[in-house]
Symmetry: C2
Subunit: 353 residues, 2 copies
């Protein structure tokens, strides 16, 4: 049995007890609300963790790219998958059709009829039917139809195309203030049109614990909650004790009294900042600030710390954004009581297509 | 022969004619100055490109992590390697000693005696001698001894240890204003001490074309110049025509008149910003701004563009920082005259240890 202290650094570790508690807590919360839980596997990209989420009662999984669907289908994690990304291009439509044959249900989202028509053609040629949700931009400013009227129009257009089956609406994240009003109006329009909307899918980890404020939701997609990170802590929906992912780093230099250098930089942590300042939370030195990252160096400012690390010390750092850190490494270590219980290849790492 | 237009997206491509020109231009410039060229392979992590740099006259290569040295040694790229990262921990020292036996010269840098002593012990036990440079912080605020006096003191301490051989001084980047004064004073101290300093190693792509202002330099380490990127263009030392790396992306959505969504986000481009705003330069729409990245989405603001892309169009984006983009993908495509001439596995991708 390898002790966590024997791992060479940098090493991306996750605490299994926290992972299990996070999975349970979120699943129970959504179950109490009567909202189906469809965890987003882009956070971990590890089939074993997807299986843990399914075992806890998830209705299926969410993937962000086709390559993730392929990896998780090969691993037999779930037979009900939602792919929340517009599929474009002949090669991708062919992969989608092939996957459709392998899964009980593979639903897609789209927000425009160019995508709808291409999938329809592929589905018709392949003799399959592809269920779809219309992606709605309820305030985030990314993909999505801009109005409830446009959602209905796109749904009606796509329903007329062969090989497509309308299943509902999708948005991300559902904490945007306009989400409830958008969905209310959309459901009214669909009702007036006589079109059933079996699925209304919301997403985002900080939005989990306010999901009750969007009564239209039938399912929720969240990824980050399985590990949590500095951004989730900053959002107020987790504490450091809920953060399962800890990047073990060695202090390789102490050039000045106030500066320490870690052996992990943007090629482990990435430069994601979002809502926070600094690049990580050093658990042993909570007053420290990871002020800058080079590719392989983390520069830590210690002036606020009474105790300070020495060269050779190993520290554990909670990253800003766990979903991108998973994608930087080939394996993640599952740790319990100081022992490495699992070494998981990040099977869908780099699956950007 | 695959045409570049047949590649599925996102795809990280590099223009071979530009790569060749960049290699030649930088090598010739350093040769004119009498400065040895030791390209940093962390930018591309591809042995075939390291071989092109060696064929152009490079004296050897620079690696940032031991894993890169291993990959490039396995590939037989160069027999003279400089590892510019403090090596700490028994496992890493053992790997270093093993590599030392396989290479004509594997030099390291360090900035503290904890590292020096551990390498000395490993070298003695392994019966090898490890050449070293003292890393100096000449203004960047990362690793490095803080004063010329400290450089001499560390060099003298390490020279007394078995298995270590002093070879010189190293800094990054050499464009920091204090660099010349630091090196002048250090060389004066070493001279007074009777210690020869055969190597003074500077680095950084924007610093290449001002290397003549630091007459102490005997060699230069640069990585980015082989591809160039938005940061180098912003520094004034390259134009868009010098940017070899282009990320091919498909426009998957046009949610509004002013917004396009690309199928590549921070899991291809990373969130590196440094000195620039926005996350990439869209070659076909130079007035466009890549305003935000999600993990798999690039959000492009088009309000300044007269012509605008349609859903399904493929665009080429010059990333902010090419060195981190290489590390996100499993392969890079070498393109000439619209044809894919090489598909290179990014052999040292993810080598963070």
């Amino acid at each position: 049995m390898t002790r966590v202290t024997e791992l060479d650094t940098p090493a991306v570790t996750v605490r299994l007890d926290i992972v299990e508690r996070n999975i349970r807590r979120v699943h129970d919360h959504l179950a109490r609300l009567g909202i189906a839980n469809r965890p987003h596997v882009k956070t971990h990209k590890i089939p074993a963790l997807g299986r843990m989420q399914m075992a806890a009662g998830a209705v299926g999984i969410t993937c962000q790219k086709l390559g993730e669907v392929e990896v998780f289908t090969d691993a037999g994690v779930a037979d009900d998958v939602l792919l929340t990304f517009n599929v474009i291009g002949r090669a991708k439509v062919e992969r989608l059709v092939a996957l459709t044959r392998r899964l009980r249900r593979l639903a897609v989202v789209f927000d425009n009829d160019v995508v709808a028509r291409a999938i329809s053609e592929g589905a018709r040629a392949g003799g399959v039917e592809v269920p779809f949700l219309v992606e709605c931009d309820t305030g985030f400013g990314r993909n999505g139809v801009q109005t409830p009227e446009a959602a209905l129009e796109l749904a009606r257009t796509a329903m007329r195309l062969p090989g497509l089956r309308f299943e509902g609406l999708m948005t991300f994240p559902n904490r945007e203030p306009g989400t409830r009003a958008f969905l209310e109006r959309a459901l009214e329009l669909f009702k007036r049109d006589g079109t059933a909307v079996p699925v209304v899918s919301g997403g985002g980890t900080p939005a989990i614990f306010t999901a009750q404020s969007i009564p239209q939701l039938t399912e929720h997609r969240a990824g980050t909650y399985i590990y949590n990170d500095r951004m989730v802590v900053a959002s107020g929906t987790a504490t450091w004790d809920d953060c399962a992912m800890r990047v073990r780093c060695t202090v390789v230099s102490r050039p000045t009294a106030d500066r320490a250098i870690l052996d992990a930089g943007s090629k482990v942590f990435t430069s994601d900042l979002y809502t926070v300042t600094g690049y990580g939370h050093v658990l042993e030195y909570p007053e420290a600030t990871v002020v800058t990252l080079s590719e392989e160096h983390g520069v830590v400012e210690l002036s606020a710390c009474r105790a300070r690390p020495q060269i050779g010390d190993v520290v554990e750092v909670v990253p800003n954004h766990c979903c991108v850190v998973s994608n930087m490494v080939d394996e993640v270590y599952g740790v319990r009581d100081g022992t490495v219980e699992a070494v998981w290849p990040v099977a869908a790492r780099g699956e950007v297509r």
